[in-house]
Symmetry: C2
DNA sequence: CTGACTAACTAAACCGGTCTAGCTATGGCA
DNA sequence: TGCCATAGCTAGACCGGTTTAGTTAGTCAG
């Protein structure tokens, strides 16, 4: 005989299928004595629910979906996704909710997967990343009427939850710090320009620059890859009046930039200060270790998972949520411009 | 009305449910004309199969499972898992097979998840990583009688497929290369000692050392973390007769080691050559870029997914498979011992 | 012209649960 | 004593597909 079903248990315990279902799900309809007997039999027969049968009856799928529209190799490269996955897992595993993961080529394919998984009843909700400026995924999610947690800036509403960190405040804190050190020419290697957070960071830099009266503050868009990070750094450092500090939107780019500086004989932090918008082992283990914005991506993942589970179960407030503003962790890749050693201030 | 069902289509097309099922699944039992009509109606109504209903009938779950028993933060740190995931996805997405991912604390929990997912019909097969020396998961997988692809050395059999790269040959190629450069004292920062590949690498180093008559070849077990990588490197470099070359089992540790060398004023590669057993962006973007074993983990993931799908569909040979032996990519972190510059050989 | 055979299709069982309507026995209360 | 409420349980419909057994009509050979 294959796997035992509730019919088997019912026969064994001398009750009906319905009674078994009541007993196993802890709902009224059976006496405590009968319930105990049924549970014992189920235990003895090593019974497990058949998830498909449950789902067919309209119950939860006990799974949530995460679809990432980036080149497949990206998640292997970006520590961000790994960290996020880890955080998600920490919470989801505890609730025995599985994660359906899929990496697709573009946003159109992503939307198609949302449609399919929703109509196939495969998942109870979605996690949406890489929020775009006019995001075509949001109307689809509204239409599908499944809970979704969107990672990205505060939005005008819709049925979805949003969780975000204050990119603007974060960028301002970086610029304030660099300006306080004496930097007047700051460059910014930004991410993909159609992402909302990219735009917010660019705007924040421009505003801060104006307020502080900086000599120069330029944002260069990239695709987040180490290759573009290196190339853009090389271009910036080749200019006659090169920036004295560069802010990188990802740590992969920052480390690539550090490598380029080394190659070109530009001392870090003596002649060039480097700040990464993303902190991970990467930023810690290179030499010199990078000053970086410590966003706790793991905690972010945990929070996203928690919020999504609450939305699925319709418990909890279901309110948008702002993560704590990331704090700048100062390491050895920043110093006053023109300083010979990390600690000794020279110019103003 | 909610999502359309095949009953709706049947009514609309004026046929029975069965006919619709035949038509939609491309099996005989309906004329071409009727099939075309049914397909049109299904298209018009935007019908999608309900995965739970399908699974209930005993069909595929169209999902495979990957359970990783490591601290949740690990997958965010190890580029290996990200790469593997990417490769898996590339193939799985193409076949519209989802990946059920779960990160658990230990092997016992991992086994429990296998049992649950199998009995709940959640997945059609498993991907097993981190093969251990006497692996308690293998008998369980045999018992569950689901296809599984095991990532790790050639084994004595069982019903599962195995895919592995030749760690031994890889380690030998590294040692041969270092010995040819003139190194006589080589250290090896190994991974977790109960993993099969760790043991194979340690043995290979010992054998090669004996064959080549090296002065010293020591393997130090670690937990793969950057912290232990750094600590062990510091210990090794503090010894009176320190190694002239260190082989690291992961690139995270290698980069951490590189940082320690920098701190301690040990020139790389002048006074210390560094080789990483794992190649990723990480190895490329640090300075100097690391000589590393280029295992194409992405391709490995693709192959694993392909093999698993074949096993699930019972097509294909179902034979164990050896991946191409990884090749050493020589970059700038290795040179003859005592050389001042990367290129100039000095001693012998 | 008839019987055998097959293509095309229908009706209904089935997968393993959930859930509702209904039945029975019991106890409480007037 | 009679009536009703209720706890405890059963029977069976139901979810949305797949699959099998059975029916009908048409083709072909003899």
């Amino acid at each position: 005989m294959g796997r035992p079903t509730i019919a088997d248990i019912a026969r064994q315990a001398g009750v009906s299928k319905g009674a078994v279902s009541f007993a196993l799900n802890g709902r009224p309809g059976v006496s405590e004595a009968t319930r105990a007997r049924i549970l014992r039999v189920a235990e003895d027969m090593n019974w497990r629910p058949h998830s498909a049968a449950r789902a067919l009856g309209g119950a939860r799928a006990d799974a949530v979906g995460l679809v990432i529209a980036r080149p497949a190799r990206t998640i292997g490269v970006e520590p961000f996704f790994g960290q996020l996955l880890s955080g998600l897992q920490a919470v989801l595993s505890a609730s025995s909710v599985a994660l359906h993961l899929m990496v697709v080529e573009d946003t159109a394919a992503e939307i198609e997967v949302y449609r399919r998984w929703a109509s196939e009843h495969r998942v109870d909700g979605f996690i949406v990343v890489d929020l775009q400026v006019k995001d075509p995924r949001l109307p689809v999610l509204d239409e599908l009427a499944l809970p979704a947690v969107v990672l990205g800036g505060p939005g005008k509403g819709g049925g979805r939850l949003r969780i975000w960190a204050d990119d603007r405040a974060a960028m301002l804190s970086i610029v304030d710090y660099l300006a306080a050190l004496g930097h007047r020419r700051i460059a910014h290697l930004a991410g993909l320009p159609h992402f909302q957070h990219t735009q917010r960071r660019i705007r924040a830099l421009r505003d801060a620059s104006r307020r502080l009266g900086l000599e120069e503050a330029v944002s260069v868009p990239t695709d987040f890859s180490d290759a573009e990070g290196a190339a853009a750094t090389r271009t910036l450092l080749s200019r006659p009046r090169r920036p004295t500090a560069i802010v990188y939107d990802s740590d992969v780019m920052a480390v690539a930039g550090l490598g380029v500086a080394g190659e070109m004989g530009v001392a870090v932090p003596g002649e060039l200060s480097i700040v990464s918008f993303d902190d991970s082992v990467l930023a810690r283990i290179v030499h010199p270790p990078l000053t970086a914005l410590s966003r706790d991506t793991f905690a972010l993942g945990e929070q996203v998972a928690r919020s999504l589970l609450e939305a699925v179960e319709e418990t909890g407030p279901g309110r948008d949520l702002q993560m704590p503003t990331p704090r700048l962790t100062v390491r050895e890749s920043t110093s006053p411009p023109g300083a010979a050693a990390p600690a000794g201030p020279t110019g103003g």
